[in-house]
Symmetry: C2
């Protein structure tokens, strides 16, 4: 379903090359719960951005549901992302001028979902992450963990078959974090693919297959018995 | 050294009052390592902002080193903050247009430290948090955990006697997080007061005294034997 072959990502900073990913090959099957771990700066978010079609590899090949992603132009990639992927960003990336409700509705708005329907679903998702009382707040009027939960709700707006979550519990207390993981676990059991970056072992334990990065390369892998 | 008496903070959102802190009384002595825990939305960052003189209480009194903070005007408060407090923000608050080095130098610049000296200290602090190779990067060219480490280095720039850290390891892998905590522990042993928000028990364990908030009130407190 998701297949990377010798993928590299080199960033250019001034006169220097920063090789964030130095040759990644992996395969993630439909319906997997996949965990990505590794030290700060090891390339996890970079890899997530490539898998999530938010960026393109410098070298290497990437297949998504059999389609070779390099052959898609930016519009096609954008459309693909909207339909297939829900992304929880490490730094949330909420729109400051929009309310909680409007932030969650945004992916639905882009897909042309009628306002009454997108509003109802946004309210449902806000309730699901414990923010039913914060619908009219703007991001600046929220706690860090509340912002993170809006980002999670937004990622689920179009009910995507693939959910990418980059440190979704980093700003959450243990109990709220586990509630979010239970939610992701339930979505996974219903057949959705979940790809999760985390540095917390208790959170990583929800992923049946786990990959460690170090300095832009795969260091090791673990798979639980079914 | 830090004393709060019946402190309340009420935010106004549209027509609604949000009582983020509903009556907090506490005392933090010079040189303590103090931990603040509690669920997402319970008021931790709000309390940190009050202690850190970034905001004022709606009601209640606040003494800092014997000075009644309500009697200080905004300029005096700003000056006090610059000299006495180093703040690691939950969402980092780095300046996007400045490099890592310039971000760390900023508090020194405001204090009139000569450029050669502030540059040398910024490079030293960047090394200390493992970012010696990232001095010329801008925040958009950093990983989440690297941004967090820049925020930590910046908080230490003026060598403040009081360090306030709001979730300083939320974006760090376990090993890097523990390195940062060792650093804070060493600074504390040298006599600095450290006030830390965290939701991770292993991180909270570095604080000898710990307070739990729930819905804007103190729920319980723990102190380790000396
Ligand atoms: N600027 C603001 N305007 C309105 N309400 C706010 C504002 N900042 C915080 N709040 C509200 O006050 C409450 C406490 O927020 P605070 O940021 O202190 O929580 P927290 O304990 O730090 O949470 P987290 O662990 O998620 O970071 C939350 O319910 C939040 O919605
Ligand atoms: N836009 C960019 N431009 C230049 N360098 C970048 C950029 N984004 C990331 N990097 C660099 O690439 C490396 C990998 O970054 P990445 O964000 O993927 O790490 P990460 O594993 O997600 O780290 P963390 O756990 O701290 O979030 C880092 O060394 C970082 O400095
Ligand atoms: Mg990252
Ligand atoms: Mg907070």
């Amino acid at each position: 379903m998701i297949r990377l072959e010798n993928v590299e990502k080199i960033y250019r900073v001034g006169q220097t090359d920063v090789p964030a990913l130095r040759g990644i090959s992996l395969e993630i099957r439909r319906g997997e719960f996949f965990g990505l771990l590794g030290p700060s700066g090891s390339g996890k978010s970079t890899l997530m951005n490539l898998i999530g079609c938010l960026d393109r590899p410098t070298r290497g090949r990437y297949w998504l549901d059999g389609a070779n992603v390099e052959d898609l132009d930016d519009d096609a990639l954008s459309e693909y992302r909207l339909r297939h992927l829900g992304f929880v960003f490490q730094s949330f990336n909420l729109i400051p001028q929009l309310t909680v409700c409007e932030n969650i509705e945004l992916p639905m708005y882009y897909r042309g979902v009628p306002p009454a329907e997108s509003r109802a679903r946004a309210e449902f998702l806000a309730e699901l992450v414990g923010l039913g009382e914060r619908l009219r707040h703007r991001p600046a009027e929220l706690s860090g963990g509340q912002c993170q939960r809006v980002a999670i709700a937004r990622a689920l707006a179009n009910d995507p078959p693939v959910i990418l979550a980059d440190e979704p519990t980093g700003n959450l207390d243990t109990r709220t974090g586990l509630q979010i993981m239970e939610l992701l676990g339930a979505l996974n059991r219903e057949g959705r693919t979940v790809i999760l970056v985390t540095h917390e072992p208790d959170i990583a334990a929800f992923a049946r297959r786990r990959l460690w990065l170090r300095d832009g390369l795969i260091e090791r892998e673990e798979t639980d018995a079914p």
